[in-house]
């Protein structure tokens, strides 16, 4: 297999990637994947010192649509991410802001004992203005709500059902652990409804926010720690289910592609990881998914996150949502909602993220659904803020259709 940077040689300059880039469509600050990626790469190759040739690298959101569109197999977004890590190294490491917003467990843990107060503070305009002025996180960027209880404390109290036919390990990620424990509970309920026993191996941050901000060294430390912790689960039960699309994608492919981790342990973990919807569709294909969903009289817009496309599994949530009687689902026509993880929270990029998401927000405004469905947490927060509608993970919808009295 070619190293990410070598794939630049496959580029035939056809410009297909530029037709899907949501960022270059709305701003001059990013010249587009072809110029930034394979063309810029010619100037970077072999240069180990000195400035990076193009600071506009910072403006690539990393959505990866270019890589998916490329008919030649150039890993365009990945080329840019590797180049950005060198740009960050040139600058002497991640800036304060990037360091803070790339460490969700740190923020979550600090705020947990005072979660109601922290949430009040985050909702306060003067505080957000002060944050914008000091840390340069945009005052209007959506922030997750801190939770007083962590997911793992819920999981410790949780009693699994007696009758199960198979087991999976659940990689819940930071968002479920710190901000959305109820979402993790829905995942567990849906799996258990299907006679799947769920285990909760010790885990931690996958490092994706650090990696996508260019902090490869810090990201690698987290990646190595996580692989060590999940290695056992990759052997037994052998299946690791992830409900965060972007963290799942990181475990599946990015350690190998971006961090060059190609050892046995990383390989066995990456091959054991399944997106939760991918796993449930797999059960259904074997005739082992409980299809007794109660009707849900509602209309929804489903937005498949850009990072889901990087799994190479299509959009399995559509197959699952189609099983819920009464639920009408319209598919989003947008390639990316704009936020791309932490990108859209930054003061200089917030407007770009809103402009990128415009076609999705317009579609939602036209369709007037009861809610939006999206697999990825940062996308959900961004879409909820921009549209004012509730945005759920597909599994939360299934959970409700199984009869849970929870959120939807």
């Amino acid at each position: 297999m070619l190293h990410v940077e070598q794939t630049a040689d496959r580029c035939i300059k056809c410009n297909v990637c530029n037709t899907v880039c949501p960022v270059s469509a709305v701003t001059d600050l990013f010249p587009g994947p072809k110029y930034e990626g394979p063309q810029g790469q010619r100037f970077r190759a072999g240069i180990d010192t000195g400035d990076s040739p193009d600071r506009s690298l910072d403006y690539c959101s990393g959505c990866g649509l270019c890589t998916q569109a490329c008919p030649e197999g150039v890993l365009i977004a990945e080329i840019n991410q590797v180049a950005r890590s060198r740009l960050v190294d040139d600058r002497g490491g991640l800036a304060l802001r990037e360091n803070l917003i790339s460490r969700p467990p740190l923020m979550g843990r600090l705020a947990r004992p005072v979660a109601p107060l922290a949430n009040l503070l985050m909702a306060s305009r003067p505080f957000r203005v002060a944050v914008e002025k000091t840390i340069r996180v945009h005052r209007d960027a959506p922030m997750p709500r801190f939770s007083s209880t962590s997911f793992r404390s819920w999981a410790r109290r949780h009693r699994p059902p007696a009758a199960t036919t198979r087991s999976v390990a659940y990689f819940h990620g930071c968002a479920v652990q710190e901000f959305e424990p109820e979402m993790g509970a829905a995942v567990v309920r849906v799996l258990e409804r299907n006679r799947v026993r769920v285990t909760f191996p010790r885990q931690g941050c996958c490092g994706l926010p650090l990696i996508s901000n260019g902090g490869f060294e810090a990201g690698r430390a987290l990646a190595t720690r996580l692989i060590g912790r999940l290695r056992g689960a990759a052997g037994d039960p052998g299946v690791i289910v992830a409900s965060s699309t972007s963290c799942g994608m990181t475990l599946k492919a990015k350690y190998r592609e971006l961090l060059g981790m190609d050892d046995d342990a990383t390989r066995s973990v990456s091959q054991a990881v399944y997106d939760i919807c991918e796993y449930l569709v797999g059960l259904d294909e074997q005739g082992e998914l409980d299809r007794s969903f109660r009707p849900l009289q509602a209309r929804a817009v489903y937005h498949p996150p850009c990072q889901l496309m990087a799994h190479g599994i299509g959009a399995p949530a559509l197959d699952l949502l189609a099983l819920v009687p009464g639920l009408q689902v319209e598919q989003s026509r947008a390639g990316c909602c704009g936020t791309a993880g932490t990108y859209g929270t930054k003061v200089e990029k917030y407007q770009i993220a809103m402009d990128v998401g415009h076609s999705l927000f317009d579609q939602v405004a036209e369709t007037r659904p009861d809610f939006v469905v999206c697999d990825s947490e940062t996308c959900r927060w961004h879409i909820a803020k921009a549209t004012g509608l509730p945005v759920y993970h597909p599994v939360q919808v299934l959970d409700r259709a199984y009869g849970a009295q929870a959120v939807v």
Binding site: C14, N15, V16, N18, T19, V20, S24, A25, V26, T27, D28, P31, G32, Y35, T67, Q68, A69, C70, P71, E72, G73, M249, L251, K252, A253, R256, S270, Q271, V273, V281, E285, M309, A310, H311, G312, I313, G314, A315, L318, D319, A322, Q331, R333
Partner: protein
């Protein structure tokens, strides 16, 4: 995805048409593609048959009789050719992309070089008359993929009274870099068009027709073109420009919307790498995923993976050619020295290399026996034609997609 799905591999002109037609026929369809295809590269018209043995063709349906017996048109027959084009014309018009022309005779498509390429169906914005009277060749200021002077020179050589001009762009969010697609997205906007039109009208004063690069809107069909034509007050004709193809993107957008409406699931960005089989039947497609091979079960498999340029066919180290998904035999390529032919896009042995099929589009062994009972090959993957040299790419795609839809309609859904 249930095991009775029809899996289509490839999202070029053949794969897209086949997927839509099969889904319209009631099949559960899954489309798997390694990336975008020829829609994004082509001139945005439907070529049926532009040249036979180097001679320009005026009547493409009649000229089919001059093609070799193993040419895809000869295999599927004239009815499938007509059906393919008829269906396309209806599909495109319903999506707001009306096309002019019919398979009886070829038409001219004007290019950025001011030359004429023979084609069959032209999207309405490229179909207007521009041969008589004075013609303004207008570029938009700062757009680098179109030279009005070069285009006008070519047209004058062809006897057209053409003059070059450049229209100013209203202020917008791209001052430095922009591509055809970004300009087309801006032209989708009503306000932008209203500000753009007076500048075009001014620099094109005195012209009966205005030739512009094919960038007049991308997300809203031909509506922005029609509106701008009204605002400018002269006939606007789009010239084909280098990739990315905005007319092709309009079409791709229409296909994608139709596929979503029909419930066709997409899997994009990863190549198909193999099959699973049970005797002479393919039972599943294997495609790359982020960390492991993804297995998609299927009842029927339609390969629309393209020829050498589309990566449906790749070269082995020993110089032989291989079909990449199912390891099908590749015909029509005798000798690795053929790689060294003079012109890559001219008469090149690689151009006609492909998979030999029977009249039911099933791939054949060298002996003439079908390799699989439930695999059909469509589009550029097929042996016996050279889409670039003949100017037959979209026609073969649509005719073979039509034939595949017809054949599978007769297959009982289990």
């Amino acid at each position: 995805m249930p095991a009775d799905a029809v899996v289509v591999v490839g999202a070029g002109p053949a794969g897209l048409a086949a997927a839509v037609r099969l889904a319209e026929g009631g099949h559960q369809v899954r489309l798997i593609a390694r990336g975008n295809g020829f829609t994004h590269w082509g001139a945005g018209a439907v070529d049926l048959l532009g040249r036979v043995r180097g001679e320009r063709v005026e009547r493409p349906l009649e000229a089919i009789g001059q093609l070799p017996a193993d040419h895809p048109y000869r295999l599927v027959g004239e009815a499938a050719v007509r059906d393919g084009l008829d269906w396309f014309t209806r599909f495109a018009a319903a999506a707001g992309l009306a096309h002019a022309g019919d398979p009886e005779r070829n038409r001219d498509q004007v290019t950025a070089l001011g030359t004429m390429r023979p084609t069959c169906l032209l999207p309405a914005p490229a179909a207007g008359p521009f041969r008589s009277g004075r013609v303004a060749v207008v570029n938009f200021e700062g757009f680098r993929d179109f030279s009005p002077a070069l285009c006008a020179l070519g047209l004058r050589r062809a006897g057209v009274d053409a003059f070059p001009a450049t229209a100013p762009l209203p202020s917008w969010n791209h001052e430095r870099y922009f591509t055809a697609v970004e300009l087309a997205q801006a032209i989708d906007d009503d306000g932008f068009r209203r500000r753009l039109a007076p500048g075009i009208a001014r620099v094109a004063a005195g012209a009966e027709a205005v030739l512009v690069p094919a960038v007049l809107g991308v997300r809203r069909g031909h509506e922005p073109w029609a509106d701008l034509e009204r605002l400018v007050g002269a006939s606007l004709v789009e010239a084909a420009i280098p990739p990315p193809s905005v007319p092709g993107l309009r079409l791709f957008t229409a296909y994608r919307a139709r596929l979503d409406t029909l419930g066709v699931r997409w899997q994009f960005g990863f190549p198909a790498v193999g099959i699973e089989r049970d005797g002479d039947r393919v039972t599943a497609l294997r495609s790359e995923g982020a960390s492991r091979v993804i297995v998609t079960r299927c009842r029927e498999l339609v390969l629309a993976t393209g020829g050498v340029a589309g990566h449906g066919i790749e070269a082995n180290r020993d110089g032989t050619l291989a079909e990449v998904v199912a390891g099908l035999p590749v015909a029509r390529f005798a000798d690795r020295l053929g790689f060294l032919a003079d012109r890559f896009l001219g008469e090149h042995p690689l151009g006609a290399a492909g998979v030999r099929v029977d009249a039911e589009l099933r791939p054949l062994h060298a002996s003439g026996e079908p390799v699989f009972a439930n695999v059909r090959c469509v589009g550029g993957l097929l042996a016996g034609h050279d889409p670039t040299v003949e100017g037959s790419r979209e026609g073969v795609a649509l005719a073979t997609a039509a034939r595949a839809a017809e054949l599978l309609a007769a297959t009982p859904v289990s």
